[in-house]
Amino acid sequence: MRESPKFEKSFDVEGGSFQNAGNVSGQIKNILKDLGVSTDIVRRVAIICYESEINIVSYAKKGTITLAVTDNAVKIETKDEGPGIPDIDLAMKEGYSTATAAVREMGFGAGMGLANMKKYSDHLIITSEVGVGTCVKMMVMNFPKLLHPDLPVVTL
């Protein structure tokens, strides 16, 4: 069942702009707070946005993060024009990373990003085409995460 979002907005993220990384996530966090979304959900969405943003900044030329809020869920969709991910299962593995020194200096690039995005979302779908880009759709249900911290990743 699909509900029409009561709030939707897209944000541009510039690749390589390390100094501004986190800006969009901060904005999204404030929007969710203003919409009255519960603190726990706000934090989980903020974390997955921030890891997504760091990924776009670190690897892509540019990308977008789209936020959609419905009564039941908060959805985050990221699309980037980047190198793409040749082996998604491998990329999902904690500790696997192709990060540059610049990314590591920021305190990222240890192969935790996608794992964190999976950990804090209830659903996560990644599609990627090498040389074209990557799309990640994530959903955080608008109620506390229950008994399945290890939901399967759907790869299309």
Binding site: Q19, A21, G22, S25, G26, K29, T39, R43, A46, I47, Y50, E51, I54, E105, M106, G107, F108, A110, M112, G113, A115, N116, K119, K145, P149
Partner: protein, 121 residues
């Protein structure tokens, strides 16, 4: 305990947030890897770190961290201070190494925001 007591225990310099020293704190998390902070830190905790770039402040903001404690005498960049002021996140700097900083706080009653990993969600 308050942030002021943390400052005293660590003989720390307050770089941002002098007006927030009455904030209460009970728990902390320590790491230099921000992805680990995002994975494990809990809200209303202290973040002890040796990393000084603006991403530390961003990470603290995302997680509702009470204050950032820079260890080993690290001083933040200008951009980091500016962002912390904007987001109203206190930054303290102590000359103690991370191990000593953690130990001194723990001895006075500050505990880890989680004890160990696994099944903490």
């Amino acid at each position: 305990m308050t942030l002021k007591e943390v400052q005293d225990i660590l003989e720390a310099e307050v770089l941002v947030g002098r007006d927030q020293l009455q904030k209460p704190v009970r728990t902390a998390f320590a790491a230099d890897l921000m992805s680990d902070v995002l994975a494990f830190a809990k809200p209303d905790s202290l973040l002890l770190t040796g990393l000084t770039n603006p991403q530390v402040v961003r990470t603290a903001d995302i997680l509702d961290i009470t204050a950032i404690i820079l260890v080993r005498g690290k001083k933040p960049s200008e951009e980091t201070v500016k962002l912390a002021e904007e987001l109203k996140i206190p930054i303290l700097s102590t000359r103690y190494i991370l191990f000593e900083t953690s130990g001194r706080l723990h001895a006075k009653g500050i505990t880890g925001c989680i004890e160990k990993v696994g099944g903490e969600m």
